[in-house]
């Protein structure tokens, strides 16, 4: 879709993040071309979730530069980054548990309402048109993740795998240019992981860029265009999944260790 010469969607340069005495991310640099799926793998504690938190703005980097589609991100709070088109899901699911499935997705349309201010108090034609538009789009997103029939259910009452999919639908409601997924397959059974893979493949087919932190190597090799292997907060390897399997450093530090 996009040639290798195209400007990268995301550029990270020399990112650092320290928590107390722990250097969670120490001097990490990488670029993400447009319409690319990057899988970030590495042992527990390698700094993968911290990296996603630095990208989405949950944490601020201690040092380093971060630019997304030509905008410098480092100083921006999380909600401003979301408006630029960065959406995310969470490793520990953070749905609005007491709201219905539909309300969770509708909350994701926050940046897209087109209602004159006075119509918030006196609902006029523009208000109702906006409501119809958002409900239609929410219905399509819920159909995409297979939760349309559960629209009225409280999010907290969904099965674990369904909650993971609902988080993706909620993130997609923001119409992201880059979707960050923090261990989307964690805790899922085989069928649920397959349901997830089908959706991620569809999103990839639409050209949505994604950064995926994941332990499930089968999912990674089937979805990812690029792999970033992290080790103690640093880059151990960056390249294609096929090249990763041949890389001596990766085999020694991670894949080999897992097989042993």
């Amino acid at each position: 879709m996009t040639g290798p010469g195209a400007a990268p969607l995301l550029t990270a340069e020399d990112l650092h993040k320290r928590f107390g005495g722990v250097q969670a991310v120490g001097g990490l640099s990488f670029t993400l071309p447009p319409a690319t799926v990057l899988a970030v793998i590495g042992p527990n504690g390698a700094g993968k979730s911290t990296l996603l938190n630095l990208l989405s703005g949950v944490h601020r980097a201690d040092a380093g530069r971060l630019s997304f589609a030509g905008t410098e991100l480092a100083a921006l709070p999380a909600h401003r980054r979301a408006r630029l088109g960065l959406a995310r899901t969470f490793q520990k699911i953070r749905l609005f548990r007491h709201l219905s499935v539909l309300e969770n997705v509708l909350a994701g349309f926050y940046t897209q309402h087109r209602i004159p201010t006075w119509q918030y108090l006196l609902h006029g034609p523009a208000f109702h048109a906006d409501r119809r538009r958002c409900r239609q789009a929410a219905a399509e997103l819920l159909a995409f993740v297979g939760l349309l029939a559960r629209a009225a259910t409280p999010a907290g009452a969904l099965a674990y795998g369904e909650q993971r999919l609902l988080e993706i639908a909620r993130a997609l409601a923001t119409q992201p240019r880059l979707l960050l997924l923090d261990e989307p397959a964690a805790g899922l059974n085989g069928a649920e992981t397959e349901a997830l893979r089908v959706r991620l493949t569809a999103l990839r087919g639409r050209g949505l860029a994604m950064i995926l932190v994941e332990h499930d190597m089968d999912l990674v090799t089937r979805i990812a265009d690029q792999v970033l292997v992290m080790h103690y907060g640093q880059k151990l390897f960056a390249g294609t999944p096929a090249a990763m399997r041949e890389d001596a450093g990766v085999i020694a530090a991670y894949l080999g260790g897992e097989l042993a």
Binding site: S56, G57, V58, P77, A78, H79, A82, R83, A87, R88, F90, R94, L95, F96, R97, H98, L99, S100, L102, E103, L106, A107, G108, F109, Y110, T111, H113, I115, Q119, Y120, L121, L122, H123, F127, D130, R132, C134, R135, Q136, A138, A139, E140, A143, F144, L148, A151, A152, R170, A171, A173, T174, A202, G205, R206
Partner: protein, 331 residues
Amino acid sequence: MSDVPSPVAAASLPAAECRPGWPGRAGAAATLGIVAILPLVLRDSYGRGLLIAGALNVIQALGLDLILGFAGQLDLGAAAFYGIGAYVSTLLVMLAGVGFWPALALGTLAAGVMGGVLALLTVRLRGHYLAIASLGFAVITYQVLLNWISLTQGPLGLYGITPPAGFTDPVRLFYLIAACAVLVFAALRALLASPVGATLAALREDEISAASLGIDCRRWKAFAFAVGSAVAGLAGGLYPGFAGTLVPDAFAPADSFGVLAMVIVGGIGTLRGPVLGAVVLTLAPELLRGIGDARMIVYGLALTLVVLFMPGGLDGAWRMAAARLRRNQAG
């Protein structure tokens, strides 16, 4: 979206979101009818005073529930904003010669601005910490009213305050305040049925998640505090004309807990709840007058029992009873 199975109709979604505590047309008409008739039934000045106090409490409880129930911010400063509305509007009339209506609007605005400022100053605080900070604000406000004697006359208070022209008759004053309560209710209902309702719910449920959707939590906390406090200020501006006098003790920090009790007993996070709670808790101590000194004990016991056995408050209990009735009729 090409890979969506078959054309998806929004019609397959649950019909209009049916929110708890949202009254239907019949309920609204019946409530308005009762409000219209009440002052004709209660003809003595004691009864009419009770009606006005009840209507003021309804407005205050609605304002607090926006902050507490809908935005999830533990605000214990309600009495301060009620007092700011009362003193600002009254002093504007008495000292600056401003007319009642513009003074009422400015008192409401002042309370709203102070609410927004308090929210921005305490933006990093949540839960118990926010509760203590807002209670502290109520203590400071009370001390200012008490000790800025050149402006407020301190504990001696301001005397001879009259209701606005045309509303000196208590029945008309009640209709005025009740109309304000209905307007506040309608405005909050429209606002919360708009995307603002979902935004505040997201803020209440999970701030990190909300921010990941583009929601500026600071801004919406300030919004909820400003609007909720402005509503309290509106009630405050309507109060002095009814009381005739204005003393700081009418806005003691502990009074915040009275409003809090109305919201919780009625049903937090609903619109019907605070109305029910305000009416019941205004009437209860008066109805218990017959038992003398024991009445506050009974009142306190009743509060405890409601919180223990009706987690959704009176509104929640009402809805459960209605659902059971429907099931029985169907079955």
